[in-house]
């Protein structure tokens, strides 16, 4: 037995390598949840990553908080002013919302931007290489996270879940060169695809490709996800246009996009499930939401006025 291995060592090693390559080729492109083995390894490894990330962010916070104590007072003052302004604006917008709800219930239009239920998660590890922008988050199938769920931050889109194990999930940010998100410009409605690009991702930028040559897209336009995607819900903010170039073929344009989310310094994210939107809000039947609305004077007409105080 020993002799057999020694005699055919080279053959065995090369057969092993060929086998691994074959497995890679065959298995690539499949999107499955992590296998039991992967999950088991994840259970062992992720707590350590959690710990190390926790320590480094704690150190970061302590250092910055000691440095910026004097700035805090100023910032506090500013924020108070800002809150006052926002409260004012919020009141105004709440009135608009009420009006909108009334008008759309008159028109019997379904509400366009449903509120998805979201789960919070922490980023605990990042792909160490320069090529790809993947990371690991600390929630998995045990928190009902599965592949192709969408990751967002309060400012906008972050990416999607690639694969999830029991206690962790692999995720891909929109800066990754393998990611592509169908998108459109809010102002002009021009369609395109937001893709990652490794030459831009170091600066936290990405690219919107396949824009029509005649499109009237401009620098500063807001880009959101379009209705053409199975994975991403419509209307999530992605970023704004930084510059526009014509492709070498002269027929299409591409735009460099600056995402609203600071993807290089992100630590917490929200996970939403497109296929699991609460039915009451996405379909907007007037009566259903009105039940939760205690202050609604006319239940039939105001369907989304939950936040309206006065």
């Amino acid at each position: 037995m020993q002799e057999f291995f020694l005699k055919h060592k080279k053959h065995i090693i090369s057969a092993g390598i060929v086998l691994l390559v074959l497995v890679t080729v065959i298995a690539s492109g499949k999107k499955l949840n992590a296998t039991l083995l992967e999950s088991a390894i994840g259970v062992v490894v992720t707590p350590f990553q959690d710990l190390t990330t926790g320590i480094s962010s704690w150190v970061d916070e302590t250092v910055t908080s000691a440095r910026s104590k004097t700035d805090l007072k100023e910032e506090n003052e500013d924020l108070k002013n800002q809150i006052a302004e926002l409260m004012e604006e919020n009141r105004r917008l709440a009135m608009y919302e009420e009006e909108n709800a009334k008008l759309s219930s008159l028109l019997k239009i379904a509400q366009r931007y449903p509120n998805y239920e979201s789960v919070g998660a922490k980023i605990i590890a990042k792909d160490p290489g320069v090529w790809y922008d993947n990371f690991i988050i600390d929630k998995g199938t045990s928190s009902h996270i599965s592949a192709n769920m969408v990751l967002i931050a309060p400012q906008g889109l972050v990416g999607k879940v690639l694969e999830s194990g029991a206690t962790f999930s692999k995720a891909q940010s929109i800066l990754d060169s393998r990611s592509s998100v169908p998108a459109k410009s809010v102002r002009t409605g021009d369609l395109g695809v937001v893709k990652g690009d490794y030459t831009l991702s170091n600066n936290g930028l990405c690219k919107m490709e396949y824009i029509d040559g005649d499109a009237e897209i401009m620098v500063g336009d807001e880009i959101v996800t379009s209705h053409l995607s199975d994975i991403y819900p419509e209307g999530l903010a992605i970023g704004k246009v930084l510059e526009i170039e014509t492709d070498t073929n002269g027929l299409t344009k591409y735009a460099v996009i600056e995402p609203y989310v600071d993807l290089k310094h992100l630590d917490t994210i929200l996970i939403i499930d497109k296929n699991n939107a609460p039915a009451g809000k996405s379909a907007a039947p007037a009566a259903e939401t009105a039940e939760t609305d205690e202050e609604a004077a006319e239940p039939e007409e105001s369907n989304a006025g939950t936040g309206v105080a006065e």
Partner: protein, 170 residues
């Protein structure tokens, strides 16, 4: 003993590389310490153990950053095998050779990733790759290799000493 300590090194490196080291990146580039460890280990201990360490390192990378198993495992395995072949041919107390070998392995590794991941898909920006990604990584990597190799060398010496006493008759 050796197996446990080597596994621990690989494990700690993986944890640090995915969590802490990105904070020390210069212009978004940080040397691939996993590759440096595999190369150094192969230089210190030969093909067989280099390949085993390569499998361990690559497997962890596969589990966490690929949706299928095999790519990194095969890649690091080959690197371990390849660089272990030169184990007998130089004095391992020397620091210049590990730095040169780690530089060669980094170039090979990045070129393979670049060709398989980007050139085949028609996204090759060779100048950006060479000057913006590869060159900084090589310089930074050469600086990191020296202390890393020193640590691995020290651990290896200590282990070899222990193993020697274990099998001594008198």
């Amino acid at each position: 003993m050796r197996i446990a300590i080597t596994a621990l090194i690989v494990f700690i490196n993986f944890i640090l590389q995915t969590t802490l080291f990105p904070h020390f990146a210069i212009q978004g580039v940080f040397p691939n310490t996993a590759l440096i460890i595999v190369t150094s280990y192969a230089l210190l201990r030969g093909s067989k153990e280099g390949a085993l360490v390569g499998i361990g390192v690559g497997f962890l990378m596969d589990v966490f950053f690929k949706t299928y198993i095999g790519f990194y495992t095969a890649l690091y395995l080959v690197f371990g095998l390849l660089f272990g072949r030169s184990q007998r041919n130089f004095y391992r107390e020397n620091y210049i050779l590990p730095v040169i070998f780690c530089t060669i392995s980094t170039v090979l590794y990045q070129v393979i990733l670049y060709v398989t991941g980007f050139v085949f898909r028609g996204e090759g920006n060779i100048l950006y790759f060479l000057f913006r990604l590869l060159l900084p990584e090589l310089v930074y990597g050469a600086v990191i290799t020296v202390p890393l190799y020193r640590i691995l060398f020290g651990i290896n010496e200590w282990l070899e000493l222990k193993e020697k006493y274990k099998y001594r008759l008198f």
